[in-house]
């Protein structure tokens, strides 16, 4: 029973839910193809958890290392966080000596408008915006070869051509060469910790000025903002604190804190819970049990434990 039964039981649950949801989809005016997609997604996500073998799995336990999004995000954030300190000085130096990067025959002006330099240290963001600008302009405008073309990285929603201190384009510029500007970088767009870099994109400052701003901020020792939540150093356990058992930190380890891991948990209903001194007895029903990464279902469970 138990684990082997889980596949069939879950299959039935999924089918029943999908069957009874058809009418809800219809009422909401959503095509039934979406319902099928929901079912497919649902099964796939269950398979990825590998808590049991399911009837829809092509082969038992086929390797399918699809990381879930949370994990990817976490690791990306960790990566960004750890890379920024080393990258900052390099980026800054880079800006001072090579403010205009030549890639694929296109001069790309470094973000001149970033008061705090956050955008400027983020080549991906600049590249993305430049690509957007170019896409906005080229379909509708013929660019005569040899024209001075400024690829400004500041976001200009109306697609207006920036007129600030511009850059010379070599005459041989080709439209198809644009996307890659400055080589690979793992830094993702960083939301600013102050709105200035977004709001002041209308104002133009010279790159010398931008460099000075960055230098000043570096000198002030202003670190990168922590983007991934509060400091995750483990809290010290304070023996003097008013901890009841209800605050037991162990309890938080049980699947509430750790999203990435499959929790050790039994979800069920109870019929009877009895206690005599420190001995407990309980009768549980209709349960789903997840232990050690495997799933079990039961109709009835008898538990005995001592406190």
């Amino acid at each position: 029973m138990s684990n082997a039964a889980v596949g069939d039981v879950y299959q039935k649950i999924i089918n029943d839910v999908l069957d009874s949801s058809g009418i809800d989809f219809e009422e909401a005016g959503v095509a039934s193809v979406v319902l099928h997609e929901l079912g497919a997604q649902w099964r796939k996500k269950l398979t990825d958890l590998r808590v049991a073998t399911f009837p829809w799995d092509p082969a038992p336990q086929q390797p399918q290392p699809i990381p879930d999004n949370k994990k990817v995000n976490n690791s990306m954030q960790a990566k960004v966080k750890s890379e920024i300190p080393q990258q900052l000085p390099q980026q800054q130096q880079h800006m001072q000596h090579h403010p205009h990067q030549l890639v694929g025959g296109v001069h790309l002006k470094q973000e001149p408008n970033d008061q705090d330099g956050l955008g400027a240290i983020n080549p991906n963001l600049a590249a993305m915006r430049a690509a957007q600008n170019i896409q906005m302009k080229y379909p509708t405008q013929e660019v005569p070869s040899g024209l001075q073309q400024v690829v400004a990285a500041g976001a200009r929603p109306n697609g207006a051509r920036p007129t600030g201190p511009g850059l010379m384009l070599p005459g041989s510029m080709g439209q198809s060469q644009i996307p890659q500007h400055d080589g690979a970088s793992d830094i993702r767009p960083i939301p600013a910790d102050e709105p200035a870099w977004r709001s002041n994109s209308g104002g133009v400052i010279s790159r010398e000025e931008a460099d000075r701003i960055i230098e000043r901020q570096m000198a002030e020792g202003r670190g990168m903002p922590q983007m991934d939540g509060p400091d995750d150093d483990d809290d010290e356990e304070d023996e003097d604190a008013i901890n009841s058992d209800l605050d037991d930190p162990d309890e938080d380890d049980q699947g509430e804190a750790e999203d990435d891991e499959i929790p050790q948990i039994m979800l069920c209903t109870y019929e009877k819970v009895q206690r005599t001194k420190n001995k407990w007895k309980c009768v549980l029903k209709d349960g789903v049990l997840t232990v050690n990464g495997r799933e079990y279902v039961f109709r009835k469970a008898n538990g005995e434990y001592e406190w």
């Binding site: 138990s2 039964a5 839910v17 929901l38 997604q41 162990d250 979800l267 069920c268 789903v288 039961f298």
Partner: protein, 112 residues
Amino acid sequence: MNNQNYYELYRQSSIGAALTDALDTLISDHRISPQLAMKILNNFDRVIAEVLSKNVDATLTFKGNLDTYRFCDEVWTFLLKNVKFKFQRQQEEVLAEKVKIVSCSSKKPGEV
């Protein structure tokens, strides 16, 4: 049938979480509305309760040390340590260092 309330307890099981994930994806892609997703989850609450009581006949016994217990709003929460699960009709035994049990009354909400 539909006017009866069912526990949302099982949504945190792996099958419930998988459904919630799938629904979230559809919502963020603007394929379905959150209201529709809620209806699907309500269907799930009902179906899983029915299937577990009607289509499962496994019984199990378990023993362990009770670390923490709590009874609040008709919900028992137990934190067990060194638990040994035994499934009837087969020799399989499962040992777990820790298990959290969340258990709602087998009387359906709204039932007297």
